[in-house]
């Protein structure tokens, strides 16, 4: 969303955005968006809240939850591809020897 917003608003943000416009920047922004699960988690919390407030029913919750889980998995896949750490999955104390 953020990248799209920036592109759509680019003419208005011209001076600031334009001055820093570079392939590096695009690359970084895209990477940040693909690998940041914060907005997905916020959506999950908002969904939870809707259920608690009785704005949606169980069936709808389950449906939307599935879509959010899919987005989380996509973020995780990108993080793995880009060699970044992922939440979840097996961990061990950093620097400890290999477990057998």
């Amino acid at each position: 969303m953020g990248l799209l917003t920036n592109i759509l608003l680019a003419p208005f943000l011209g001076p600031v955005w334009g001055a820093r416009w570079s392939l590096d920047k695009i690359d970084r922004v895209v990477k940040e968006e693909l690998t940041d699960d914060t907005p997905v988690k916020e959506d999950l919390m908002a969904l939870q809240m809707k259920l608690e407030m009785g704005e949606i029913d169980d069936a709808e919750y389950v449906r939307e939850e599935a879509a959010i889980m899919q987005r989380l998995r996509e973020v995780r896949d990108w993080r793995e591809k880009l060699g970044m750490s992922i939440g979840g999955g097996p961990v061990r104390v950093a620097g400890s020897e290999e477990s057998e």
């Binding site: 608690e52 992922i86 979840g88 097996p90 104390v93 950093a94 400890s96």
Partner: protein
């Protein structure tokens, strides 16, 4: 194989990985029943000196934070919390083996001990406050003379009232609402201060929420805290909706940065 694929373990139904729920102080092993994540696996402790990790066996998988999984994680912590002060682990923390769990207890022994001392007999409560915009606007119009006058004027001269008068009204209402929101939140914090040990405000969720806070409370003050929250919600019952949850483990007040890395 990617970590997301589940491991088939014919001989061991739940796998040899360890899902860690929390850390407690206990110098002997304990069983907490078959209430673990991923299909009611046995929940037990891995011990090192007087510290214990509460775990269940699991295949090496990534657990999605679905409601079912989160509730399972939470239910174990609730069960443990009835008897112990605990340090909650983040959702989805899986170690490859018991040896790796022991390495965590050994390497983080001092930090865990310090935090357990600090959290001794402390519990957390969540308080979310939502408002009903229409009701708050109505209350503001009742209380704020300037807004009421401007609104009356616009209503009386519906046809001729200018765009700018409406803009002006909108701005005044917005500012008054922000001021009201701050006033409510400050008042709630003030009133709960004396019955809590600490508080933390988190980011609000959605556009109706004005407070999303966690309070750390001494077990002995639980009843007083409870009564205070009820009294405040009565005080504001016409304007605000209170979402009061707990007791929780002190999720918002424990901040140990574990030096964990991906186990391959």
């Amino acid at each position: 194989m990617t970590a997301a694929e589940s491991v088939s373990a014919a001989s061991e139904p739940f796998g040899e990985g360890k899902y860690v729920y929390c850390i407690i102080r206990n110098d002997r092993s304990r069983e907490f029943g078959e209430i673990g994540i991923g299909g009611a696996s046995r929940v037990y402790t891995v011990n090192h000196n007087d510290l214990a990790a509460v775990v269940s066996d699991t295949p090496i998988v990534i657990y999605d934070p679905t409601r079912e999984n989160v509730l399972a994680h939470e239910f174990v912590n609730e069960t443990v919390m009835r008897e112990f002060t605990l340090i909650p682990m983040s959702f989805g923390t899986v170690f490859r083996s018991e040896k790796d769990v022991l390495a965590l207890l050994k390497s983080t022994y001092q930090a865990f001990t310090d935090v357990l001392d600090k959290m001794q007999d402390k519990i957390e409560f969540g308080l979310k406050i939502l408002w009903d915009r229409d009701k708050v606007v109505a209350a503001i119009e009742r209380e704020n003379d300037e807004i009421r006058r401007l609104k009356d004027e616009i209503t009386r001269n519906a046809a001729s009232s200018t765009y700018f008068a409406r803009m002006q009204l909108g701005r005044l209402v917005e500012a008054a609402m922000e001021e009201a929101s701050n006033r409510y939140v400050t008042d709630v914090h003030e009133q709960l201060k004396e019955v809590s040990a600490a508080s933390r405000s988190n980011k609000v969720i959605g556009d109706r929420m004005i407070l999303n806070a966690a309070f750390l409370v001494d077990r002995k003050d639980e009843k007083q805290f409870d009564e205070k929250v009820k009294a405040i919600s009565l005080q504001y019952e016409d304007l605000l909706t209170f979402k009061y949850t707990g007791p929780w483990p002190p999720y918002n007040f424990v901040n140990i940065k574990l030096k964990l890395e991906k186990a391959t």
